[in-house]
């Protein structure tokens, strides 16, 4: 009986993951090779050309998603690293207060936050409308429906996921190591570049992982802030599944997106060890 305990404990959770994570992937792989339509039904024809067709039609949106996800990730790294650094080394007894303030947006729904930006940045809204009335901005000035709005929205929405893992890595750096470097006549810049930065890299890796994947696959920011010319792959997949009911094309696109992202993730996870990634993800 005691030897069975771990299996019995693990069984329900394991089955949930197997039935609703693994089996659906197989179902999606199968649907992506079928042909047919929503009315007459779909049949398995091993139609690998679904992938070619889907990719040639939507390569722009796929590449755009990777580009926007990448741009947002770089922006988050540049914006977030100094914040994580300051809190870790100079936050003192108020560290948890600063972290709490950074997490404040998570108490508001993701879509509501994004809609709030749509509202703030509206062409004649409270911000730009007022500035235009004062003559400080030209009438035609707008931010919504631009690349900047979408990348900015992604950067805004996922920034805390970049800051936290970097903070965790920096917080573990012993200040005496930095002092030792300075005692050995390293300048502040050199001490940072040769001691602090390398020690924080696991946090940077985890942060990139936790932001690039959701940012690239996010349909919400493009839908609410991007207008019609900034459609990302997430919007296409949603439309194909839910409006056009073209399940094979939608599945082929989802599968391709997942393959691209998973290859990226596992290259990272190998470099780090999955336990570390999980640890960072759990915080």
């Amino acid at each position: 009986m005691r030897r069975l305990t771990p299996y019995l404990l693990a069984l329900p959770g394991w089955m949930w993951l197997a039935i609703f994570l693994v089996v659906p992937m197989a179902a999606m792989a199968s649907v992506s090779l079928q042909t047919g339509n929503a009315i007459d039904g779909f049949a398995m024809t091993f139609s690998f050309s679904n992938y070619g067709d889907a990719l040639s039609t939507y390569s722009t949106q796929l590449l755009r998603s990777l580009l926007y996800g990448g741009l947002a990730t770089v922006a988050m790294l540049l914006i977030g690293y100094p914040v994580a650094y300051w809190i870790a080394f100079r936050g003192g007894r108020r560290k948890s207060m600063y972290l709490f303030l950074l997490l404040l947006p998570f108490f508001v729904s993701f879509v509501l936050r994004t809609i709030s930006w749509n509202f703030l940045l509206a062409d004649n809204g409270i911000l730009f409308g007022t500035l235009k009335d004062w003559g400080l901005l030209p009438e035609g000035f707008h931010v919504l429906a631009t690349t900047f709005a979408v990348v900015g929205g992604l950067t805004y929405n996922f920034l805390p996921f970049m800051i936290l893992p970097i903070y965790v890595a920096l917080e573990r750096v012993d200040p005496r190591v930095v002092e030792a470097a300075q005692d050995l006549y390293a300048t502040r810049a050199a001490a940072f570049r040769r001691v602090v930065l390398p020690l924080s890299l696991p946090g940077v890796f985890a942060g990139v992982l936790m932001t690039f994947v959701p940012a690239t696959a996010d349909p919400v920011n493009a839908q609410i802030l991007g207008g019609t010319s900034n459609t990302m792959i997430g919007n296409i997949i949603q439309t194909e599944y839910l409006t056009n009911l073209d399940y094979p094309t939608a599945s082929a696109l989802s599968f391709t997106l997942m393959a691209i992202l998973l290859v990226g993730i596992f290259v990272y996870a190998k470099a780090l060890g999955t336990e570390n990634v999980l640890e960072a993800a759990a915080r």
């Binding site: 508001v108 879509v111 949603q238 759990a282």
Partner: protein
């Protein structure tokens, strides 16, 4: 040298506050426009202070239904997630068993799968199996994406737990269940509660996965996105403000309680 360091620190301090202000600005706008005494259809310019939307909070009937759906779904999926997630976290944290490596991998895969792919693949399964989409399929999906977070937080507590405590309880004649209830559970409880709060928050917030598996059931985030084109009623701001307020209060109470324990 020293003064430059201090100046740099000051600049970084100001910069940190600037980022906090940036992150909080849409929340401030959301709260403020819940008090806007708007006369026209659109809620875009400030027209004076009112508490009207708080009094008429439940006057938009499909919005109220959507919020109620979200709360019920969050509650049910949290209960399921916490029970099976705690069990799995105990198994993985305490025991080495055949398949534990593969299970750890599944837990990791569930965290790292993009929401979009998770929703799309679940819909593929439901379409292939002719499963009608409703609140039940939403609950299935929400348990799936919350499960790993409970497993990870519980597992971390279990790993940090001294096994000799449980052995001592056994030596003193406690049954397996008694040991679990009186020794193991109290020590992993903070992890379980953290996981529960996280599950609830993830569930009530989710738009992407839900949009694939909802059928004709509408949740709070889905309703809001659907209403963007026609204009968001101020009641949404009020509900967002109340959820925000309750969440912050719980977090602060939690932090105070943790400090008192320490």
């Amino acid at each position: 040298m020293r003064t430059r360091g201090r100046l740099g620190d000051r600049l970084l301090h100001a910069y940190t506050w600037l980022i906090i202000a940036w992150l909080s600005s849409p929340i401030a706008v959301m709260i403020l426009f819940g008090f806007n005494d708007k006369q026209s259809k659109s809620n875009t310019t400030w027209q004076g202070f009112t508490l009207r939307w708080y009094a008429e909070l439940f006057d938009v009937s499909d919005l109220t239904v959507a919020l109620r759906n979200s709360l019920v779904i969050a509650l049910v999926s949290t209960v399921i997630t916490v029970v099976i997630g705690t069990m799995l976290g105990l198994a993985l944290g305490r025991h080495r068993f055949r398949g534990s490596g593969a299970t750890n991998f599944l837990v990791f895969a569930a965290i790292s799968t993009p929401e979009l792919v998770m929703g799309a693949s679940l819909l593929s399964l439901f379409v292939s199996g002719n499963v009608p989409r409703d609140a039940n399929t939403i609950i299935v999906a929400h348990v799936l994406f919350s499960l790993s977070f409970v497993v990870v937080t519980v597992r971390a507590r279990v790993v940090g737990l001294d096994p000799s405590l449980e052995e001592a309880a056994r030596d003193l004649g406690a049954s397996a269940w008694g040991t679990f209830r009186q020794v193991t559970l109290p020590s992993i409880l903070p992890g379980v509660l953290a996981g529960a709060m996280l599950s609830f928050a993830l569930s009530i917030d989710d738009y992407v996965v839900t949009s694939f598996v909802n059928g004709s059931t509408v949740t709070f985030p889905l309703w809001i996105v659907g209403a963007v084109k026609t204009g968001i009623p101020p009641q949404v701001n009020v509900m967002g403000t109340l959820i925000f307020g309750i969440g912050v209060l719980i977090a602060i109470a939690n932090a105070v309680a943790a400090r008192r324990r320490a």
